[in-house]
Symmetry: C2
Subunit: 331 residues, 2 copies
């Protein structure tokens, strides 16, 4: 239904945002396509965008196998298809992503149906990776080179499916990104409003409109809601209440995401890594490696990672309404 | 024990050969490192060689995640280690393998401990991929460029762990290889021979030898068995019986492996793909897509694949003693 919106299903360093008519992934680790087979609420062919936080192998090495499934040409190899020129997948990520996808597609000689684009979020000094026609993969269309803004953030890198997306750099051993998914305000169409529509005399509806509820596409258009004038001159106005859009902040691996603060305020959901956690002596299997909470935090930071406490602190700083921890270390 | 030798444990397009002191993999699909966690008889750190049949993503895209585990520096990041200059992993495969590993290691900025080498089996006309010092990854040592012989085969590409290894080109949509693992003849040391040793007077053993069975390292050396002269002038000869070495033939995806015939004769084990199989109408879920056995075979061949019947035919041609089918299609 219209009010359901995105949900989060946890993967091994791959999250899926299930939207009305499509799904987006954040990160795509090895095994993602296998996880997708298990998931009941998302299928590879339905996914249209993949946002990569950083290029460590445990966050991006499922991309090629996933493309092999999501853009499969198996059912119709080599034959013309209406999908040949359709951009089926768009990737967003740090410098290196475009080269990684293109090089591996060429080396694995993967046979794909349709097109993809690899957009890179670049710092001021980072070189672009070529989009020359002769260098593109045969299934590739040129991706955007999205330069960081003067405030050190990438604003509005994408606007679709009722979301605008911002991104920011966060501290890790390698370039790592956080993404902010800003849902646009949506209409909450109450029962009283629907009854009002249902009670309209069908004879005064605009020509060509047989059911009053069909007017909702104009009255409650998310981008540009408009009043509707009926045949008797009376005017129906858009529904009175808007539902504020939700804000999802999803961070890559990080020991310090503070650069994200300006675009993360009042997040409805914060997804933050929590690689290292202090384990009390009574629960620890290995008494010889016991560390104090301070030592655990110092170790996490030295590897570019965080503890649950650090995640909680950032959640408090941005006044997040909910905090999801992921990326638990194996030790 | 000395007679146990290699066993085969099936993975998703990754087979492991478990030798006395190490393991080898043939192919390394996505998910291999996860499969290795489940396997009780092989651990990532114990694997020393990986043989890649072809660069399709379902056969090679587990390499990087596997390296991340097998050459992990996690326990000692950035610190000097006795493993720093040890070649921990050697890869063998077609042209493109070296570039794939090196490019992805650089892009993912993986932190590894020790060295690896990527050897390429090249046809006459194939260019080598650079081994220039300045182009190598920091964990890489130059790999060999192994040119195909005048008979269209790669002979003796490796000689270790009691095996010599040959390879040959097989027909697929992309360059695909088959590997032959030839076990060298090994001594079968019978109970009578051991008793003879045990009955020797310890006083006449060569100086420095306290137990007669220690002479076995000379008497039954696989490469160069030698008689031993005792202090009383008597001579002990190597054990009388040799056990013929076994031959394993492991093929990549193929519709026609006949180029392998000269090096595959009398294989003890043949591993052959079987992507497409004819399913009788009574067992078929989808009655609308029923095909004749001939149509199934034609479809398999058109995609560079084989049926169980084709595999059986090749097994008969080389007089294989056992045939293992793998790579079953998902349809």
């Amino acid at each position: 239904s219209a009010g359901s919106g995105p949900t989060l299903g946890r993967n091994c360093s791959s999250l899926s945002l299930n939207l009305h008519s499509t799904s987006w992934l954040v990160d795509c680790a090895e095994g993602t396509q296998i996880q997708l087979q298990r998931a009941s609420n998302v299928t590879p062919g339905r996914i249209s965008k993949v946002f990569i936080t950083h290029l460590h192998v445990d966050h991006c090495f499922g991309i090629l196998p996933f493309m092999n499934t999501a853009m499969s040409s198996a059912s119709n190899p080599g034959k013309p298809s209406r999908l040949d020129n359709v951009v089926r997948l768009e990737f967003y990520g740090p410098s290196g992503l475009r080269q990684m996808i293109r090089t591996n597609l060429k080396l694995t000689q993967m046979s794909l149906l349709g097109k993809y684009a690899a957009h890179e979020l670049l710092f001021d000094n980072e070189p672009t990776f070529t989009n020359e026609e002769t260098e593109l993969h045969s299934n590739e269309v040129p991706g955007q080179d999205i330069r960081i803004g003067p405030d050190g953030l990438w604003h509005n890198i994408e606007d679709s499916e009722g979301f605008t997306i911002d991104a920011g750099p966060i501290v890790h051993r390698v370039t790592s990104l956080g993404y902010v998914f800003n849902e646009k305000p949506t209409f909450h169409i109450g029962l009283a409003y629907l009854r009002m529509l249902d009670d309209l005399n069908p004879l005064i509806l605009p020509r060509g409109v047989s059911r009053a509820r069909a007017l909702l596409s104009t009255l409650a258009d998310n981008e540009n809601p408009q009043p509707v004038t009926l045949q008797d001159g009376s005017i129906i106005y858009p529904p009175p209440r808007e539902l504020a859009g939700r804000k999802l902040v999803i961070l890559g691996d990080t020991s310090d995401p503070s650069a994200m603060i300006p675009i993360s305020q009042d997040a409805d959901v914060l997804v933050h890594e929590s690689t290292n956690a202090w384990i009390p002596a009574s629960l620890s299997k290995n008494q010889s490696t016991l560390m104090t909470p301070e030592e655990v935090q110092a170790k996490a930071i030295s590897r570019g990672h965080a503890t649950p406490g650090m995640a909680g602190q950032f959640a408090a700083t941005i006044r997040a309404k909910a905090l999801y921890l992921n990326h638990f270390g194996v030790k």
